[in-house]
């Protein structure tokens, strides 16, 4: 922790933090058994605790915690990787390449990340600046990316700008030419139906003075991010959007984040023709913690349905190798990442998993200004002190370390030398809907 405590508040805060950190260590160690009311069938107590352990140690747990799948009875939990018999595994010291390109077109800058994942957009306002900094620091360390989300680009992130994607969403909060100009990748976020209110809705008690400053709005008043872009109602408008961004920053790569309607394939192809380099397919399992369950879980198609569909369609169109498809929406573990790549994605984008690594227990109080017991989804100046950026960065870095190690193991056991060979290998997946994960 930092230097000498200055005040009684500082002492209390430190003690609180110590307790939290002790909890993050003790519970996964199973010293007191598993917390009886933690988690749900997707993010089971095992998955939450094993994420904490990976965030601490940089390796998957070896004390029996289930760290690969959940208990939802569906989705990735009933898809199993068909590992080869051990005699066919690649050697332990075999070089396994986990890198993926983020631009498959033969023009515009080439960016490659050494691991097949990066961080999802979470806005300043929905989460704290400290959390954003932690994510940016980890992204830089791992030469991958994090994303600012829709709330603007905090000044403190500028020194990490080579690893920060900036998002242009329907409310265009904090979008200025200079934020577009400093980002290597610009992400357009289309469609946010699964949020409280009409589109994105930052409740008044999270719209602090600082948030308002960043978004140039009035403090303590709810902010709406509409569900459509009011300038994009047709695919050629989408192309104009991309043209606009390229006029401001010709070198930037463009990512388009879309939800998964039934015509997701047409949406993806439309984005391709409009000039996007990356299409992020955001399936139904994820979503902001601030939205009501009924909205979140009943909108759009699950990730594991959408991805193979898009992959198959792009292959048939002959353009699969010109577009990067990133999957997001409830990807929790290295196994989920491997499975979604096997279904057809190039890589994965992590949202909730990163917050869990920082202590989130999925209690779903994110929408209130002082709802988050761990100081993650808050902009309250006191509460956000619970997360120190350096500590957070170390946690995320350990998680990435563990994912990297797991992914390498998975590939070795599938007899593959690089992650790109796993793409679209549905034949390496087995659906076992009637068998509970062991």
């Amino acid at each position: 922790m930092s230097a000498k405590p200055e005040s009684i508040e500082q002492i209390i805060a430190q003690k609180h933090i110590e307790c939290l950190h002790r909890g993050f260590h003790v519970w996964p160690a199973l010293e007191y058994g598993k917390p009886p009311a933690m988690g749900d069938s997707r993010w089971t107590a095992d998955l939450i605790l094993s994420t904490w352990m990976q965030a601490e140690t940089g390796q998957p747990p070896s004390n029996g915690l289930e760290y690969r799948t959940g208990q939802s009875g569906g989705g990735f939990d009933v898809l199993h990787l068909k590992f080869l018999p051990p005699e066919h595994w690649l050697a332990d010291d075999a070089a396994i390449d986990l890198s993926i390109p983020l631009n498959r077109r033969d023009y515009d800058r080439q960016i490659r990340i050494p691991v097949p994942f990066y961080g999802a957009g979470m806005s300043y306002g929905s989460i704290s600046e400290n959390v954003m900094l932690a994510r940016a620091m980890a992204a830089r360390k791992w030469d991958t990316f994090t994303c600012t989300g829709e709330g603007g680009y905090p000044e403190s992130l500028v020194s990490y700008k080579d690893h920060v994607i900036t998002q242009i969403a329907t409310g265009m909060f904090g979008v200025r030419e200079e934020t577009i100009q400093c980002a290597p990748i610009i992400e357009f976020k289309y469609a946010q139906g699964a949020k409280p209110g009409l589109g994105g809705h930052l409740l008044g008690d999270k719209a602090t003075t600082t948030v308002a400053q960043m978004r140039e709005s009035v403090p303590w008043v709810s902010l709406f991010s509409p569900f459509p872009f009011h300038s994009v109602y047709s695919v050629e408008d989408h192309k104009k959007h991309i043209d606009w961004v390229k006029t401001i920053n010709p070198a930037a790569l463009v990512s388009v984040k879309v939800s998964t309607p039934t015509d997701i394939d047409m949406v993806t192809v439309g984005s391709y023709y409009a000039g996007a380099h990356i299409v992020q397919i955001d399936g139904s399992y994820g979503g902001t913690g601030a939205a009501p369950e009924i909205a979140k879980k009943n909108i759009a198609m699950p990730t594991e349905l959408a991805i193979p569909r898009v992959h198959r369609y792009l292959v048939a169109e002959g353009i699969r190798d010109e577009l990067v498809v990133m999957a997001s929406g409830g990807l929790r573990t290295a196994h989920d990442i491997a499975k979604v790549i096997a279904l057809g994605a190039d890589g994965a984008i992590l949202g909730t998993a990163e917050l869990v690594a920082l202590g989130c227990t999925r209690c779903s109080n994110c929408e209130r200004g002082r709802g988050c017991p761990f100081g993650l989804t808050t902009t309250d100046p006191e509460l956000q002190r619970l997360v120190e950026p350096e500590w957070g960065a170390a946690r995320l870095s350990n998680l990435y370390q563990s994912f990297q190690s797991e992914l390498r193991t998975i590939l070795r056991q599938l007899g593959l030398q690089n992650i790109r060979d796993l793409r679209g290998r549905k034949d390496l997946l087995l659906y076992r809907g009637d068998v509970k994960a062991s």
């Binding site: 329907t170 409310g171 265009m172 909060f173 979008v175 200025r176 030419e177 200079e178 577009i180 100009q181 009409l198 008044g204 008690d205 602090t208 003075t209 978004r215 140039e216 709005s217 009035v218 403090p219 303590w220 008043v221 709810s222 902010l223 709406f224 509409p226 009011h230 300038s231 109602y233 047709s234 695919v235 050629e236 408008d237 989408h238 192309k239 104009k240 043209d243 606009w244 390229k246 006029t247 401001i248 920053n249 010709p250 039934t262 015509d263 394939d265 047409m266 949406v267 192809v269 439309g270 023709y273 048939a316 169109e317 002959g318 200004g369 002082r370």
Partner: protein, 878 residues
Amino acid sequence: MSNEVELSEKLIRSRQRLSPAVSPPLRKEEGEGGCGVIGIACNEKIAGRHLLQSLAQMRNRGNGKGGGIAAVGLAAGELGVTQNILENDYLLSVAYLDPGARTEVERTSIVPTFEIDSVFQVPHVDAEQSLPTLEVCPPEVVLYFVRVKANAIGKFQEENGLGLSTCSEALLSHIEDEIIYQNSYRLNRAFYASEGEKRAFVLSHGKNLLVLKMVGYGDDVVRYYQLENFHAHVWIGHHRYPTKGRVWHPGGAHPFAGLHEALVHNGDFANYASICEHLAQRNIQPLFLTDTEVSVLVFDLLHRTYGYPLEYVFEALAPTTERDFTLLPEEKQRIYRQLQTTHIHGSPDGPWFFLVAHSDPVERAYRLIGITDTSMLRPQVFALQQGDVSIGFAASEKQAIDAALESLSREDARFWSRADLYWNARGGSHTDGGAFVFRVHPGSPQAKDGPSGVEHACNGSAEFACTDKFGRSIQANQTKMPFHNNPSANTVASPPDVPAQELFTWVKDRVRSWSPDSLLEFLRGLERSASSNENRKRAFEVLTLLMDRRYPTGRLRRSCLLSAFDQSLVNVVASIRRSPSKAFAVVTADDDLSRAIADCETLVLDAIGFAPEGECSLARAIVRLYQQGHRRFAIARAKGQRFIANGLGPDTSGLRIDVYGSPGDYLASGIDGAEVVVHGSGQDQVAQIMKDGRLCIYGDVGQTFLYAAKGGEAFVLGNAAGRPLINAVGHPRVVINGTCLDYLAESCMAGDPLHGGGFVVVNGVSFDDDGRLFELDTPYPGCNLFSLSSGGAIYLRDPHGKVSEDQLNGGQFAPMQAADWALIRPYLEENERLFGIPLQQLLQINGPALSGEQIYRKVQPHALQALQAEEAWVKMQS
């Protein structure tokens, strides 16, 4: 009445045998949504080449995977037929993807049912040579001029209980129409839509109507089928942006034909399955599985089969709703309610803008129809020019209209480069119904084609009229005479040697009594004098003032004046290019911008030749030159160039850009301190995310003006379209002198204007053709004021209290106080300085002068229930 109902029902029943009982499709096979459209209607036939520039400038709205045109009111001689055949025969246009199919198609689907009066093979260029970028070879097209054989008519009557004894001309005509329709359906099913290879399909089959389309851009169609010298009264053109399907087929391109109409579409609606169901219940099955096709099938169903007048067709497609419905007269409400109840499931739900080219063989009239959806989600512009020739336009973008006028005026002195009127439709409204019809009705036999590609009618041109959905007429002010900008005017008058402002006043005082020659003499003199630095600056300034300001123009048509000023400016720029001086340099698209351009006071960029977007665009050129250190730009002859003043980055105060011509969209988006002045109208997405600086528009703006703007000042002389200031935050300060379509300040979060926040003043005034200020019917015709908003304020100039409570959605009227007046007054004073709209006059129309607080009304967002009780703690922080 019952005869017509009976006929409709029998016609519908007669289609039962057309297709097997299959479920109507649930999904579109072809995905699309994007597009660019242009439509032209003229009371003299005009040549297809005049579409080329418009379509080329709108290419960014398509992706080259589909393009097409429709032409109505054709020239019989160009198709090798007599006028009689052209008017009375059905023009069956068949596309052969497999030329070998022709024999079989004719044998099975044409000869048995039709008397063939003439056959015409549409000529085309060699694709490989002339259009090497085409991915798919366009189909061969053969035109058959046919009538239905008498025995086929007899057979149809018999099979469908349409008795021989009571057969009128009109009834026979309906039957013939229906036989044509069904025959084409069968042909398409047999040769295109079936399981096998796609071999042939019917492009169109109406009378005096021709559709041509292919896999390519709309302008490719004109070039491939050699339509440059093909004439018609009405044209519609389209670029498609399909997103699905690897193998592209011309059958998916627009336009799609109904019977005597062809339709192109920009948009994408959500209820395709519902519309298919609606059609299936009337035994109509779509074949090409796109939403555009079902749109024209619905149009044909309503207009031909049900015999609805156009007004009812429009209502069924774009129902009048909400407040607009309540403002309709009672009789209309009654009928519209019935229409809506019956047809709601056949009404396209989503963003759409339709252009229809319609041939009316009964009235012998030709129509261009533009209809926009109720939510006004697609951009649309209409325009009109009426001189010796009358011409009307409807398009996705204003710059496309200007391009067509430019093309026409270059060749034919009876056209000039600016329209008399430009306007937007208010979809589903009680004001114009969101639909406009240009109707051409030739009176007398047609005459020869002139060299300019526009026919000269011997006995007078055809009748021409423009009406809205309710039949109200729109026309240019015909009391003022158009004149030609004759480049070889003999005399030149030297302008008096006075500074710009004085010279402008001198001209202003005289122009009301000048003849065209006097004006042109003056302009030539001004141009000629523009050799020294001082005189060049003066010429620029005077011409700018003449374009921007409003003043009486005597007998002279204002749009012709503007056209002449445009040309004068171009001439001045050309002379600067020939001999640059210290104050000016001209940069063109051919110049190498990597080398530094010498410093000068004003850098003039001649927009011609710059790409509309991309690395070689005008926008990027401005960025590069700005980075070199230039701070004052004038853009001349903008022709649809987009993103002007974008990409300059933060802190651009000190930069000034003047724009002349027809700029494209996203103008001044993201500016942070710069000053941008547009001497004309802007288009859509003007000043998106604007942060700081000043924007001045001497005309109108399009959709989503100042979307998510954060600050700065904007002054608009004319109107804004839909959704201005939507999602604005911070403190933009805006004056709109005209009005806006709807959804003003939706989701606005711009704080409290009295404490540094943002506001918009809407004056609801306009200038007549003599520069007199007058009040519009209402300062704001729409609804949804401040819907979902939490900040900002609207100051409406509304002395007569026209705006009512039911137009507020999230807003509320608030008392207009001294502090409010003190806030907006300086902006209105600036408004006066910029546009010549005297504040005193704003306070005093049709009556004694009143105070600002009495004339203006304040609207602010509802007090939001911001925080709940348990959040009382947050108040301690602020």
